[in-house]
């Protein structure tokens, strides 16, 4: 069991508070080209996800886990297709709870 390297659940608003830390978030893919993907966070902010997406086509929603390298960008290590039907609103509220009153359950 190892809890030394968690990935903090973030949305667009929470990302700036965790720069240089390992984070995870779900984005809605807006645009992708070589080297980066432009996505919309679950609280409707534009984020840049750097790195190489997997060779399989990206679904509408993608989870990325990586290091936050600025207020608006993440250097992704792991990409996971989360499908086309994802409840962004619930995930957004989860981010708020996981960083607020119930942070002790996560970090």
């Amino acid at each position: 069991m190892d809890t030394s390297n968690p990935a903090i659940l973030v949305n667009g608003n929470l990302l700036p508070t965790h720069v240089r830390k390992r984070v995870r978030t779900v984005i809605q893919v807006m645009n992708s080209d070589r080297g980066s993907v432009i996505g919309k966070s679950t609280d409707d902010q534009q984020l840049v996800i750097k790195g190489s997406p997997p060779s399989t086509p990206l679904t509408r929603f993608v989870e990325v886990i990586g290091i936050a390298d600025s207020d608006k960008s993440i250097q992704a290590e792991i990409w996971t297709n989360f499908g086309d039907n994802f409840d962004a609103s619930s995930f957004n509220q989860l981010c708020q709870l996981a960083n607020g009153e119930y942070q002790h359950l996560f970090l």
Binding site: M1, P6, F61, D87, L94, L105, F106
Partner: protein
């Protein structure tokens, strides 16, 4: 007669539900709290984060508690980040974002092989198993693993972890605090001095009984009234509680409707069903 009380009131949503850990936290469990670890109702399925599992108190290798609830079976949803497939044993690591935990599933039947066949590195899975500790290392002895197909399940599981934690730490504690209706407190305290042959579970506080009802039942429970075979006259009840008759009648009618009281020799004499 007693069954009606089990489905009334706000707490009914958590009574006998089957899925919520509230089965371990029903008010009547306070009577069985001394044997909670042996109580069938305390063996619940708990959604936990790996962070929570890392911080559990344990008395030995298989007895853990979290938020006052005995941990028996746990469910984790996370990403498989390592796996090792041996002949009779499938071991893997699950990362749920809060930490990584080792899992072990014994392969004994072809069905077990089918179950693990679709699992690879990067697959999100839902794992059910028993939390164990061996030489200080905690792991899950898995009896069920399946891939996640709808990724809302990932967020849903973490939300459920939060909710169950909230329920066990705040809502479960309600019967013991002043925030609940006084009638429930009076009733449960009253039941503790009732004859032991009475099934206390059927009369949980808060369902179908109010403050007045508790006072009436408390009065009938007193030895001098309990011993009256023909029951207690409603005027005696009104006199002793110093309340107008119409109020007493309302209270009596409510108690009768909910099965806590019944009329005895005539429509003016009553006995408590709790202490019958």
């Amino acid at each position: 007669m007693y069954g009606g009380s089990e489905f009334d009131g706000g707490a009914a949503a958590f009574m006998g539900g089957g899925f919520m850990p509230s089965q371990a936290t029903q008010p009547h469990d306070s009577f069985a709290s001394s044997s909670a670890s042996k109580n069938r109702d305390s063996k619940v399925l708990l959604p936990l984060t790996v962070k929570q599992m890392s911080e559990l108190a344990n008395t030995d290798e298989s007895n853990f508690t979290v938020d006052g609830v005995v941990v028996n079976t746990v469910v984790v949803v996370g990403r498989v980040c390592r796996k090792e497939d041996k002949l009779n044993e499938f071991t893997f690591l699950v990362d749920d974002g809060t930490g990584v935990i080792g899992c072990c599933k014994w392969i004994q039947e072809p069905l077990d092989n089918e179950e693990i066949g679709g699992i690879s590195i990067g697959t999100y899975v839902r794992v059910h198993g028993h939390l164990r500790s061996l030489q200080g290392r905690r792991f899950i002895n898995v009896f069920s693993i399946r891939p996640v197909t709808d990724f809302n399940e990932v967020a849903s599981h973490l939300i459920e972890c939060i909710y169950v934690h909230f329920y066990n730490t705040k809502m479960k504690g309600a019967p013991l605090t002043n925030s609940i209706p006084p009638s429930s407190n009076n009733f449960s305290r009253g039941l503790q001095s009732a004859p032991l042959n009475q099934p206390a579970a059927a009369f949980q506080g808060g369902d179908g009984i109010n403050d007045l009802g508790c006072k009436i039942l408390d009065l009938l429970k007193q030895p001098q009234y309990l011993s009256i075979e023909e029951g207690v006259h409603q005027e005696t009840i009104a006199l002793q509680l110093n309340l107008p008759m119409h109020i007493i009648r309302e209270g009596i009618d409510t108690l009768i409707d909910n099965g806590f009281m019944y009329s005895s020799i005539d429509e003016f004499h009553f006995k408590s069903a709790v202490n019958a």
